[in-house]
Symmetry: C2
Subunit: 195 residues, 2 copies
DNA sequence: ACTTTTAATGAACACATGTTCAATAAGTTT
DNA sequence: AAACTTATTGAACATGTGTTCATTAAAAGT
């Protein structure tokens, strides 16, 4: 059940044209008509595959997020809920964002729809869910774990927002240090024996 | 230096028309032409005041966020960086979001630009900045406080995102309890003597 | 009340959007 | 290779976008 070659060709042309246009102008100023002219695709054909320019961009983002997911699956030594473990995971995210900085500058732009943010949120959220220790749930029976996970996930994204606002000038090493300091503040009892 | 009455009338007409349209359709489907027809405003006049439909909506949001800011300025007993203080502040935000639920359902919608999220972020962020104890900065000289504040601010917004996704079904009382539990998890040493 | 200032209007323009439909061309099956 | 299936095309249409400009009308200043 392979996909029709014509579809692949059309979508590739559009993606390629979008990347080309993004080099000189912001995604918000790129029109469907303009994109189709450059890709040499009939405008009606565009609507057979996408609703707007953002949906073409989202296909790139899916690939990028998949890369993040893969980097996360790399095995490493896991112990229970410790600062070192959490930060080790989060550092991967920092590296990832830096690697695809050009894209994340778009994702965090104020004119862009929330959907991209949520895509990142949901991805990081699955990582967070996996890092919850089992003992926590039994020791805190009243805790609705979804709230905890969203809290922790968005806290990390808060770091990324701040990094974005400071135009990615902070080095990953420095960012890493800041995160460890912040998490340590919230976990003063666990300061000893780590790092 | 008062504003021209005609401007006020035009803007009020447009705001009123937008509210009316929002009762039956989503903001993303409302066109400038449609808005102007209902408001009985020439479309060219619209462009003298706004760039797009979102800018009209944003005027409402400015009022709403101002309401949040005011509620926050209510004096209450402040001690140093304790769970009770933080949660007391955050509960105000929960009440505020519930009060304007219809608006926040729009703000957290995935099709909506990030600008609204950032407006809320920046507002809550100023509250967070004010609640940082002075001793912290001297005891942690290497900490870039902007990262800490953005981390904490976005963590709270993470709770709101989760609330939104659960269609605001969680009661404020329950949400409050969840927050206290979560913050307590991160501050195990301070569990005693609070609440 | 009269004058000055400026906001709102309507018409026009080029271009974008979103959709339909018959004709064509390209890919897939046999 | 022929028959099929279906993606793409171009044309057309109504509507929306963003801008310009002379004209009108309403508010502000005197």
């Amino acid at each position: 059940m392979k996909k029709d070659l014509r579809i692949i060709k059309t979508q590739e042309s559009l993606r390629h044209a979008l990347l080309s246009l993004l080099k000189t102008k912001s995604i918000e100023t790129i029109t469907i008509a303009e994109l189709c002219r450059l890709a040499q695709i009939n405008r009606g054909t565009f609507y057979l595959h996408y609703k707007d320019v953002h949906e073409v961009f989202k296909e790139y983002l899916d690939v990028i997020v998949e890369d993040l997911r893969k980097s996360y699956e790399e095995p490493y030594y896991k112990t229970n809920y410790k600062i070192k473990d959490i930060t080790a995971d989060m550092i991967k995210i920092f590296h990832h964002v830096k690697k695809y900085q050009d894209f994340y500058q778009i994702i965090f732009d104020e004119r862009i729809p929330m959907m991209y943010y949520y895509l990142l949120f949901d991805t990081v959220r699955t990582f967070m869910r996996d890092s919850i220790e089992e003992g926590l749930l039994t020791s805190q029976p009243d805790l609705q774990v979804d709230y905890l996970i969203s809290y922790q996930t968005n806290a990390i994204l808060g770091i990324l927002i701040e990094w974005h606002r400071q135009e990615y000038k902070t080095s990953i090493k420095e960012l890493n240090m800041q995160l460890i300091t912040i998490v340590s503040l919230h976990n003063p009892i666990r300061m000893h024996g780590n790092d």
